[in-house]
Symmetry: C2
Subunit: 125 residues, 2 copies
Protein backbone atom coordinates (compact mmCIF):
# COMPACT_ATOMS: atom_id res chain seq x y z
CA UNK A 1 0.00 0.00 0.00
CA UNK A 2 2.92 2.35 0.58
CA UNK A 3 4.13 4.59 -2.24
CA UNK A 4 7.46 6.34 -2.37
CA UNK A 5 7.39 10.08 -1.85
CA UNK A 6 9.51 12.58 -0.02
CA UNK A 7 6.86 13.29 2.60
CA UNK A 8 5.99 9.63 3.02
CA UNK A 9 9.64 8.68 3.58
CA UNK A 10 9.82 11.11 6.49
CA UNK A 11 6.41 10.12 7.83
CA UNK A 12 7.33 6.44 7.81
CA UNK A 13 10.71 7.05 9.42
CA UNK A 14 8.99 8.98 12.21
CA UNK A 15 6.32 6.29 12.50
CA UNK A 16 8.80 3.41 12.64
CA UNK A 17 10.74 5.20 15.35
CA UNK A 18 7.90 5.86 17.79
CA UNK A 19 6.21 2.52 17.21
CA UNK A 20 9.53 0.77 17.93
CA UNK A 21 10.07 2.53 21.24
CA UNK A 22 12.70 4.87 19.79
CA UNK A 23 10.82 8.01 20.77
CA UNK A 24 13.91 10.22 20.99
CA UNK A 25 14.78 9.26 17.43
CA UNK A 26 11.19 10.00 16.40
CA UNK A 27 11.55 13.48 17.94
CA UNK A 28 14.43 14.25 15.54
CA UNK A 29 11.75 14.55 12.82
CA UNK A 30 9.83 17.11 14.90
CA UNK A 31 10.93 20.76 14.56
CA UNK A 32 10.70 23.21 17.45
CA UNK A 33 7.76 24.98 15.84
CA UNK A 34 5.60 21.96 14.97
CA UNK A 35 1.86 22.54 15.06
CA UNK A 36 -0.18 19.45 15.90
CA UNK A 37 -3.97 19.35 15.75
CA UNK A 38 -4.96 16.55 18.11
CA UNK A 39 -8.39 15.47 19.39
CA UNK A 40 -8.03 17.58 22.55
CA UNK A 41 -6.98 20.67 20.59
CA UNK A 42 -3.97 22.37 19.06
CA UNK A 43 -0.48 21.69 20.38
CA UNK A 44 2.17 24.26 19.48
CA UNK A 45 5.86 23.47 19.68
CA UNK A 46 8.01 20.40 20.14
CA UNK A 47 7.70 20.33 23.94
CA UNK A 48 3.91 20.34 23.83
CA UNK A 49 4.09 17.61 21.20
CA UNK A 50 6.49 15.61 23.35
CA UNK A 51 4.09 15.87 26.28
CA UNK A 52 1.33 14.43 24.12
CA UNK A 53 3.12 11.64 22.23
CA UNK A 54 5.70 10.64 24.83
CA UNK A 55 3.20 9.23 27.34
CA UNK A 56 1.39 7.41 24.55
CA UNK A 57 4.54 5.59 23.51
CA UNK A 58 4.91 4.45 27.13
CA UNK A 59 1.59 2.57 27.00
CA UNK A 60 2.13 1.21 23.47
CA UNK A 61 2.36 -2.57 23.23
CA UNK A 62 2.31 -3.08 19.46
CA UNK A 63 1.23 -1.42 16.24
CA UNK A 64 0.30 -2.32 12.68
CA UNK A 65 0.37 0.00 9.67
CA UNK A 66 -2.95 -0.09 7.78
CA UNK A 67 -2.26 2.40 4.98
CA UNK A 68 0.43 4.88 3.98
CA UNK A 69 0.28 7.34 1.10
CA UNK A 70 1.98 10.58 0.25
CA UNK A 71 3.23 13.08 -2.25
CA UNK A 72 6.09 15.57 -2.11
CA UNK A 73 4.61 17.59 0.71
CA UNK A 74 1.92 15.57 2.50
CA UNK A 75 1.61 12.05 3.84
CA UNK A 76 -1.29 10.18 5.40
CA UNK A 77 -0.82 7.20 7.69
CA UNK A 78 -3.45 4.96 9.22
CA UNK A 79 -2.49 2.37 11.80
CA UNK A 80 -3.84 0.27 14.60
CA UNK A 81 -2.22 0.15 18.01
CA UNK A 82 -2.53 -2.13 20.99
CA UNK A 83 -2.04 -0.22 24.23
CA UNK A 84 -2.07 -1.10 27.91
CA UNK A 85 -5.51 0.41 28.63
CA UNK A 86 -7.12 -0.09 25.18
CA UNK A 87 -6.78 -3.28 23.14
CA UNK A 88 -7.37 -1.69 19.71
CA UNK A 89 -6.78 2.04 19.34
CA UNK A 90 -6.48 2.93 15.66
CA UNK A 91 -5.20 6.32 14.58
CA UNK A 92 -4.76 8.39 11.45
CA UNK A 93 -2.29 11.16 10.77
CA UNK A 94 -1.98 13.73 8.01
CA UNK A 95 1.58 15.08 8.07
CA UNK A 96 3.00 18.10 6.28
CA UNK A 97 6.72 17.66 5.66
CA UNK A 98 9.34 20.27 4.83
CA UNK A 99 13.06 19.51 4.50
CA UNK A 100 12.66 16.10 6.09
CA UNK A 101 10.81 17.28 9.18
CA UNK A 102 7.14 17.29 10.14
CA UNK A 103 5.92 20.88 10.34
CA UNK A 104 2.25 20.08 10.85
CA UNK A 105 0.41 16.99 11.98
CA UNK A 106 -3.28 16.34 12.27
CA UNK A 107 -3.93 13.24 14.31
CA UNK A 108 -7.30 11.55 14.71
CA UNK A 109 -8.15 8.83 17.19
CA UNK A 110 -11.06 7.93 19.43
CA UNK A 111 -10.55 9.21 22.98
CA UNK A 112 -13.66 7.42 24.30
CA UNK A 113 -12.06 4.07 25.22
CA UNK A 114 -9.16 5.87 26.93
CA UNK A 115 -11.63 8.02 28.88
CA UNK A 116 -13.58 4.88 29.85
CA UNK A 117 -10.41 3.08 30.97
CA UNK A 118 -9.60 5.98 33.32
CA UNK A 119 -12.99 5.90 35.03
CA UNK A 120 -13.05 4.11 38.40
CA UNK A 121 -15.43 1.25 39.06
CA UNK A 122 -17.40 -0.97 36.67
CA UNK A 123 -18.19 0.34 33.21
CA UNK A 124 -21.89 0.73 32.67
CA UNK A 125 -21.99 1.53 28.96
CA UNK B 1 -3.39 16.57 -2.68
CA UNK B 2 -5.65 14.14 -4.52
CA UNK B 3 -4.15 11.62 -6.93
CA UNK B 4 -6.07 9.75 -9.58
CA UNK B 5 -6.63 6.09 -8.87
CA UNK B 6 -9.45 3.65 -9.37
CA UNK B 7 -10.09 3.30 -5.65
CA UNK B 8 -9.77 7.03 -5.01
CA UNK B 9 -12.29 7.86 -7.75
CA UNK B 10 -14.87 5.69 -6.01
CA UNK B 11 -13.94 6.94 -2.54
CA UNK B 12 -14.30 10.57 -3.62
CA UNK B 13 -17.59 9.94 -5.42
CA UNK B 14 -18.95 8.34 -2.24
CA UNK B 15 -17.52 11.16 -0.12
CA UNK B 16 -18.94 13.93 -2.32
CA UNK B 17 -22.36 12.30 -2.21
CA UNK B 18 -22.74 11.98 1.56
CA UNK B 19 -21.15 15.34 2.32
CA UNK B 20 -23.56 16.98 -0.12
CA UNK B 21 -26.66 15.49 1.48
CA UNK B 22 -27.09 12.93 -1.29
CA UNK B 23 -26.95 9.96 1.07
CA UNK B 24 -29.01 7.66 -1.12
CA UNK B 25 -26.55 8.27 -3.95
CA UNK B 26 -23.68 7.59 -1.54
CA UNK B 27 -25.29 4.25 -0.68
CA UNK B 28 -25.05 3.15 -4.33
CA UNK B 29 -21.30 2.72 -3.67
CA UNK B 30 -22.01 0.43 -0.70
CA UNK B 31 -22.52 -3.27 -1.47
CA UNK B 32 -24.87 -5.45 0.58
CA UNK B 33 -21.93 -7.20 2.22
CA UNK B 34 -19.83 -4.19 3.22
CA UNK B 35 -17.77 -4.59 6.37
CA UNK B 36 -17.15 -1.36 8.25
CA UNK B 37 -14.82 -1.10 11.24
CA UNK B 38 -16.05 1.94 13.15
CA UNK B 39 -15.09 3.28 16.60
CA UNK B 40 -17.95 1.42 18.30
CA UNK B 41 -17.10 -1.87 16.57
CA UNK B 42 -17.66 -3.81 13.40
CA UNK B 43 -20.72 -3.21 11.25
CA UNK B 44 -21.64 -5.95 8.79
CA UNK B 45 -23.90 -5.30 5.84
CA UNK B 46 -25.37 -2.30 4.09
CA UNK B 47 -28.29 -1.87 6.49
CA UNK B 48 -26.02 -1.74 9.53
CA UNK B 49 -23.84 0.74 7.64
CA UNK B 50 -26.90 2.82 6.75
CA UNK B 51 -27.91 2.92 10.40
CA UNK B 52 -24.49 4.28 11.29
CA UNK B 53 -23.86 6.83 8.51
CA UNK B 54 -27.43 7.92 7.81
CA UNK B 55 -27.97 9.66 11.17
CA UNK B 56 -24.55 11.30 10.89
CA UNK B 57 -25.44 12.89 7.55
CA UNK B 58 -28.56 14.31 9.24
CA UNK B 59 -26.47 16.34 11.71
CA UNK B 60 -23.83 17.36 9.13
CA UNK B 61 -23.59 21.10 8.50
CA UNK B 62 -20.46 21.27 6.32
CA UNK B 63 -17.28 19.39 5.51
CA UNK B 64 -13.81 20.02 4.15
CA UNK B 65 -11.52 17.46 2.56
CA UNK B 66 -8.05 17.52 4.17
CA UNK B 67 -6.27 14.76 2.21
CA UNK B 68 -7.12 12.08 -0.33
CA UNK B 69 -4.80 9.40 -1.64
CA UNK B 70 -5.23 6.03 -3.25
CA UNK B 71 -4.02 3.24 -5.46
CA UNK B 72 -5.91 0.67 -7.51
CA UNK B 73 -7.43 -1.03 -4.50
CA UNK B 74 -7.25 1.25 -1.48
CA UNK B 75 -8.00 4.89 -0.75
CA UNK B 76 -7.51 7.01 2.34
CA UNK B 77 -9.51 10.16 3.01
CA UNK B 78 -9.15 12.64 5.83
CA UNK B 79 -11.69 15.40 6.31
CA UNK B 80 -13.11 17.79 8.84
CA UNK B 81 -16.81 18.12 9.46
CA UNK B 82 -18.97 20.66 11.22
CA UNK B 83 -21.99 19.03 12.85
CA UNK B 84 -24.93 20.25 14.90
CA UNK B 85 -23.58 18.94 18.24
CA UNK B 86 -19.82 19.22 17.54
CA UNK B 87 -18.21 22.19 15.81
CA UNK B 88 -15.16 20.34 14.48
CA UNK B 89 -15.36 16.57 14.10
CA UNK B 90 -12.56 15.34 11.82
CA UNK B 91 -12.59 11.82 10.45
CA UNK B 92 -10.37 9.48 8.47
CA UNK B 93 -11.37 6.54 6.31
CA UNK B 94 -9.42 3.73 4.70
CA UNK B 95 -11.57 2.24 1.95
CA UNK B 96 -11.07 -0.99 0.02
CA UNK B 97 -12.70 -0.78 -3.40
CA UNK B 98 -13.64 -3.57 -5.79
CA UNK B 99 -15.49 -2.98 -9.08
CA UNK B 100 -16.40 0.57 -8.13
CA UNK B 101 -17.90 -0.27 -4.75
CA UNK B 102 -16.57 -0.04 -1.21
CA UNK B 103 -16.20 -3.53 0.22
CA UNK B 104 -14.46 -2.53 3.44
CA UNK B 105 -14.19 0.73 5.32
CA UNK B 106 -12.24 1.56 8.43
CA UNK B 107 -13.40 4.87 9.86
CA UNK B 108 -11.70 6.72 12.70
CA UNK B 109 -13.11 9.70 14.58
CA UNK B 110 -13.23 10.90 18.15
CA UNK B 111 -16.46 9.91 19.87
CA UNK B 112 -15.66 11.95 22.99
CA UNK B 113 -17.20 15.29 21.94
CA UNK B 114 -20.34 13.51 20.71
CA UNK B 115 -20.60 11.65 24.03
CA UNK B 116 -20.14 14.95 25.89
CA UNK B 117 -22.80 16.69 23.79
CA UNK B 118 -25.31 13.97 24.74
CA UNK B 119 -24.78 14.35 28.46
CA UNK B 120 -27.43 16.40 30.26
CA UNK B 121 -26.50 19.47 32.28
CA UNK B 122 -23.35 21.56 32.36
CA UNK B 123 -20.12 20.03 31.13
CA UNK B 124 -17.57 19.69 33.91
CA UNK B 125 -14.50 18.58 31.95
Amino acid sequence: MAQNSLALDTALAYHRAWTNHAFEHAMTYIPDDIVCDAPAGRLEGAEAFRGFMGPFTQILISSRLIAAFGDDRTAVLMYDTETVPVHSAPGAECLTVQDGRITHMRIIFDRSPFDAARKPGPQTE
